[in-house]
Amino acid sequence: MSQVVFSSWGRKVVDHRVSGGDADLASLKLKLSDTYLEQGKVGAFFGWDGIVVLDRATDVVAMAAEYMTRVQEKYCCAKCTPGKRGTRILQDTLTRIVNGQGQEADLDTIETVADLLQSCKCTLCMTSVVPVLDTVRHYRPDYLAYIRGERTLPAAKAYKEKLTAPCMDRCPAHIDIPAYIEEIKNYRFDDSLGAIRRNMPIPAVCGRVCPHPCEKACRRALVDEPISIMVLKRVAADHEWMHHKQPPMVAKAPTGKKVIVVGAGPAGLTCAFYLALEGHKVKIIDMLGEPGGTVAVGIPDYRMPRPLLRRDAEIIASLGVEIEYGVKLGRDVSLKQLKEDYDAVFLGTGAFKSKPMGVEGEDAGYEGFSPGGIHYLRAVALGEPIVTPKRVIVVGGGNTAIDCVRVALREGCEDSILVYRRTRKEMPAEPYEVDDAEEENVQFEFLRNPTRLIAENNKVVGVEVVVMALGEPDASGRRSPKPVPGSEYVIPCDLVIPAIGQDPDLDYLGPEDFGIKMTKWSSIVTKGGTMMTDCAGVFAGGDCEYGAMTVVVAVGHGRRAARAMHRYLSEGKAYLDDEDAMEDIVNNFGAFDPNENIGIIGHLHREHQPKINGAERAKNYDELELAMPESQAVREAERCLRCYRVGMVSVS
């Protein structure tokens, strides 16, 4: 573990320069890699909440000057006076000092201007003074040495910086969220969508069904409520089709390289989009008859209307991406053949195998037992001839379970019952979806766990459940449920749908398939953030790589894979560039401090999109959440604090 020479991170000063001692990063709860790619050691990290110096020989004065230069010249938006002029003055002052033309009074100027930057409109320039001030205050002798012309420390090999924001960092696709929100604030919906599409090509989807982890890292929540980041994305996406506009993207000239993408889900579509933009010829194959993968057949239309999903896919196809449906890897075509026919392969095959509940009778082949929630949802979505009976039990507490109970209602069931072994509070499903289900008269049986299927004449007539009690919190922080002995009873029903999770189905990976490794959770192993498997030229991402996760994780994988694949295709090597590397370094470090004192007054409520209310809505698949009026979206966007910040490492 790396040793820290000096740290002011989080306003907590740890200084081992004189004592000669040191503290390791872990003890300071700092997650900073001590190497940068294969280019060298990390000397120091400068960022919004201080500096962390790992290498004693780091020239912090030169680094401060370089940091401020990059903030001013590459990132400062110039849209407020203190930021535009103040960071320029700081840049010039620091540069003057480093050039040996400084005076001691310059250090006072830095303090004065830094103070003035507290009036900035956003946090970009405001936070940029934090590391600089820390150097002035804690490395003053180094400054004075420069001013006296005595400085001799070696220059860093390189500096690498990254613009981030807490929301943007937390988003698995790293969308430039403050940018797209600001465009909405400025009534520039097309530009907003353009900013989104730099990282995410299925905005209609992620504007609707993203679990929006970004909103958990929204600094606005520290003064009142988080910004409706996801809904604003929908507003930008909807604006385009609601005005019959054509997307502006144009693919680069053809490179002559051919790529096959397996799976037209979020990961595959995303990967195809960014590769197509680079000019590669991309073909997608998918086992289903329509695009979207789990989004198409696992998310009901009342949450994600499929025409909009198809539109996103059509836009991707319009860049020259061919999509062939009804082709399943392992059944209709082998990986070996794909590897031979194409210059690169992306596996985005999802996670379509339901986890077993492990209860008596589930393998007995009873009528009235569904192989799993994802199967049930898919059968309904594809219009397969299945009949949903009057009384349905769904087992599980995640989004799929919630989707199943609500779809069952729409398919004509009268009693739709969700059985979950913990309480409502522990449900992994989004709370608003649980509320929605309740509003539609879904019945909940909490702290119940199935133990046995009850069948008559080979047909399910009920589920025996045991009452559970919550014990101590487990590693995930959730209290683990324990069965109460002797509390078993039977809930009668006509159909049982287990919805306790899905695994990837990697049967297509035969032993001869190039040494691609699997995890013990039967997901594909990829290396070093490039999304490349152990087989050169074969990449993987999304649920098949991570295990069943979210749309936005799949999008993040798809984009990262496309970037690495582009380098693989054009340079023969899949590697991370500086942007990827810094994205990971900053992400590892974390850009959100839930205990930060923002210092402003809040009181502005989060805006919500209108919604169809009442149980009546559970009779059809019309979209429940209605479009947020644009004026309301602008008002919501105005709440954004634009929490940009810049992190920089020196490489020695």
Binding site: Y75, A78, I89, D92, T112, Q118, S119, H244, G599, H603
Partner: protein, 811 residues
């Protein structure tokens, strides 16, 4: 309402208002620099910071909403220090060229420095400002004077919707840049600039702000009639400005801001002229007036008036003919334009023109812009439509034979075949009715012959209509859904409608759609015919028409209308023609007019600018521009506005009212009106008539659109009025006339931008340079009106259409 305290004073204000608004209400002044009420808050300058109890950091009052119980302090040593230092930052590398800066004396940065006692410059930084941008037409940008308030960017994007300006580059190098292709040269960026960054080239170095006298008046570039200030000195108009808070909220268009430079054009007529032989000579007024009076009393006389006349002049013009000469053979240039809508509105709805008050458009829940390009025909309507649909969540439907600027903001942009707007309107009405979205209760209570409409609409086949107009059924359905569901609807119709060959059916279909969609219900939205000239509405209300009485009602006996006047000149029944403020050589079939006018014994032209027409005249009476005369004008939305004579007439030109009064005194002394009498007549004629209590459905016979290729004539913003031909600014932006065609057609004809194209119609041949534009559909060629060098009227059929099937070839 919420209650808060500012500097200890209690203030109540509506929820959502900013601290700045609350302070303003209490009379507490918070200094600002980047704040502009009509655009979204920017929060750039940080000068308006205040302290709010509970917040450690100062808050920008311009974009922090006031809250119940909030305690705000607007003055403290800390705030004063922040403001002063922020201003000091603004002054870093700001040039000390105030003495020669165009904004001197009107500079908000100067004022704020003065107010905050900023006398020193403690901060220094390298000067990385971009160089002055001198390459843009009409507007110059001086980056080192910029305070990056973004007012220009925001007004350009949020109000005008041109979206030409942007912030380019990062950090201190950032400057305001422009996408020239999108610029409308409205000058609003110049107007809102707090410093001398965005400056008007024509105004640069011409006058100091403080020397100018601002005279409140009314813009007469179009029928919207924006409120303006004429900035004058020494009998010269230097610039036109407008203040926030006016009906146009300080916004001006190209013609308002730059276009009035024709006032001092070298083409101005400065002395009366009489023709003897083939030569015109300057004469004194008595000689000219006597000659004109004699000619007018020759018996075979007719008159044509243009919409540049004021209400008073218009009244006198018809008074001269009716009372002085006992003649009803006079008409206005609205005959083949707006009067067609006026007549049908009066016949069926009892309305003399459109709905009163343009402001009602801004809050409409849906706006249908059909056969109109408000950007060129009535820019204020363009801005209001955008306000309704971009800021207030309204739905915009644009139906046009071309892609116009508003199309980009439309929820449903429909490009229909030229002349098929009526078919679109009929289909929309049918769909709204079919889907049960019409207010049947209101229709039953307010429409007399609803069954006739139902029967007419029953004959509309949507699929056939979609085919005929070249628009998909889905778009028609979507548009109908928006219009049908909207609680308030505004319908804007323009020049393409009145000039369709089957205009009465088309206008009828739109009137009926107005009934079905609810545009005539309630206090929001309405029916807005636009595209008329400056005072067309006033002329019609004053009775300057062969078939309208003073007051605008239909006359029982009508005289010769424009077409009949032309025929009468041709057959010798009219030997003297008095043209005031109009130009028949810019009427359809201009060639026929040219020949006819040459046959006259006396052509008397009263106008302010020399033209081909004045060259032909036997008698030229030099009138004045709107800057040199007083009187009133009436907007297309019925607002009566005053003109102020801000400068003396140029040369020996005289106000048109005086010329007309002098002629009247010579011809019929008994009919002379004193100023009070004239004012009373104008007031009487200007009363807005109430619509019929029961409205009548209009007949809507619709014709198939013309076969391609079709010539389509329309307005170009830079040649919106005849006066643009004498505007240097117009020529800077668009050097002359052009023929616009689609890139596909250009490729087919093997013509490139700037090359000559020949357009042949039954009436004649027109040649002009090609502009290749994707906004013009395949099979259409667009030519703007009012360009003397490419006079589209020469090949258009008389008295009717703006469309004609033509043949195109490379010239």
């Amino acid at each position: 309402m919420i209650t808060l305290k500012i500097n200890g004073q209690t203030v109540q204000i509506e929820k959502g208002a900013t601290i700045l608004a609350a302070a303003e209400k209490t009379g507490i002044r918070i200094p600002t620099l980047c704040y502009l009420k009509k655009v979204s808050p920017t929060g750039a300058c940080r000068i308006c910071v205040v302290d709010v109890k509970g917040a450690e950091k100062p808050m920008a009052s311009c974009h922090t909403p006031a809250e119940e119980g909030m305690e705000v302090t607007t003055e403290s040593p800390r705030l004063r220090k922040i403001r002063k230092q922020v201003i000091e930052l603004l002054l870093v590398n700001h040039p000390l060229d105030c003495p020669v800066c165009d904004a001197a004396g009107e500079c908000e940065l100067q004022n704020i420095c003065y107010e905050h006692d900023v006398t020193a410059q403690p901060f220094v930084a390298e000067d990385v400002n971009a160089a002055t941008i001198t390459g843009w037409p009409l507007i110059e940008q001086v980056p080192n004077r910029c305070v990056m308030c973004e007012k220009c960017v925001k007004v350009c994007h949020e109000v005008v919707g041109a979206d030409a300006l942007c912030v380019n580059l990062k950090g201190d190098r950032a400057f305001i840049d422009k996408n020239l292709a999108k610029c409308e040269f409205c000058g609003n960026c110049v107007q809102v600039c707090p410093t001398g960054t965005m400056i008007s080239k024509p105004f640069k170095f011409q006058a100091r702000g403080w020397e100018l006298t601002k005279v409140a008046s009314t813009c007469t570039s179009c029928g919207s009639q924006c409120q303006i200030d004429l900035n004058v000195k020494n009998n010269r108009l230097f610039r036109v400005t407008s203040d926030e808070g006016t009906i146009n909220d300080g916004n001006l268009c190209f013609n308002g801001f730059f276009g009035s430079d024709y006032v001092h054009s070298s083409l101005r007529l400065t002395a009366p002229l009489l023709k003897s032989g083939n030569r015109q000579r300057s004469v004194d007024w008595d000689e000219a007036l006597n000659a004109a009076a004699t000619a007018l009393q020759s018996g075979k006389v007719a008159g044509i008036a243009g919409n540049r006349l004021t209400n008073e002049e218009a009244f006198l013009f018809q008074h001269l003919f009716r009372q002085g000469l006992g003649c009803n053979d006079f008409d206005s240039e609205s005959r083949f334009g707006i009067q067609r809508a006026y007549d049908l509105l009066q016949t069926h709805f009892g309305m003399q023109g459109g709905t009163a008050g343009l402001g009602r458009i801004a809050n409409a829940a849906a706006v249908l812009v059909i056969g109109a390009d408000p950007t060129a025909e009535a820019p204020a309507v363009d801005w209001l439509t955008q306000q309704a649909c971009r800021k207030n969540d309204g739905k915009m439907i644009v139906v046009n034979a071309r892609t116009v600027k508003l199309s980009q903001y439309a929820n449903v942009p429909m490009t229909c075949r030229p002349g098929s707007e009526g078919i679109v309107a009929g289909a929309l009405a049918r769909l709204i009715l079919d889907q049960g979205l019409a207010d049947s209760g209101w229709l039953a209570a307010n429409v007399a012959n609803l069954e006739e409409l139902r029967a007419a609409l029953a004959g509309v086949n949507i699929d056939q209509a979609a085919d005929a107009c070249g628009v998909s059924r889905e778009l028609l359905e979507e548009a109908a859904d928006h219009l049908g569901r909207a609680p308030s609807v505004a319908i804007v119709l323009g020049g393409d409608i009145y000039r369709e060959s089957q205009f009465s059916g088309t206008i009828g279909a739109i009137l009926n759609l107005a009934l079905i969609s609810g545009a005539l219900q309630g206090e929001v939205g309405g029916l807005y015919p636009i595209g008329a000239g400056a005072n067309s509405q006033g002329l019609l209300k004053m009775g300057v028409s062969s078939d309208l009485l003073p007051g605008g009602q239909k006359a029982s006996i009508s005289g010769r209308d424009l077409g009949e006047i032309l025929a009468a000149i041709e057959n010798g029944e009219v030997r003297t023609l008095f043209v005031a403020g109009a130009n028949p050589l810019a009427f359809p079939e201009s060639g026929r007019w040219q020949k006819a006018l040459a046959q006259l014994d006396s052509l008397i032209v009263q106008d302010c600018l020399a033209s081909e027409l004045t060259d032909m005249a036997q008698i030229v009476l030099p009138g004045v521009t709107f800057v040199e005369k007083s009187g009133t004008v009436t907007s297309s939305a019925h607002k009566l506005s005053p003109l102020a004579a801000a400068i003396d007439p140029v040369g020996s030109a005289r106000p048109d009212q005086q010329i007309l009064a002098d002629l009247l005194a010579r011809i019929a002394p008994a009919a002379v009106l004193d100023p009070e009498q004239l004012a009373a007549e104008v007031a009487r004629c200007s009363v807005i008539s109430a619509p019929f209590p029961i409205l009548r459905v209009a007949p809507m016979p619709l014709a198939e659109p013309l076969p391609s290729p079709v010539l389509l004539a329309g307005k170009d913003l830079y040649y919106a009025a005849a006066t643009n031909s004498a505007s240097a600014a117009s020529h800077v932006v668009v050097p002359g006339g052009y023929i616009a065609i689609n890139p596909i057609d250009a490729a087919g004809l093997s013509v490139k931008d700037g090359e000559k194209l020949r357009v042949t119609s039954k009436q004649g041949i027109l040649e002009g340079p090609v502009q290749v534009l994707a906004t013009v559909p395949v099979g259409v060629c667009f030519v703007p009106y009012n360009c003397a060098d490419v006079n589209v009227q020469a090949i258009l059929p008389s008295f009717g259409s703006n469309t004609e099937t033509v043949a195109l070839s490379k010239a």
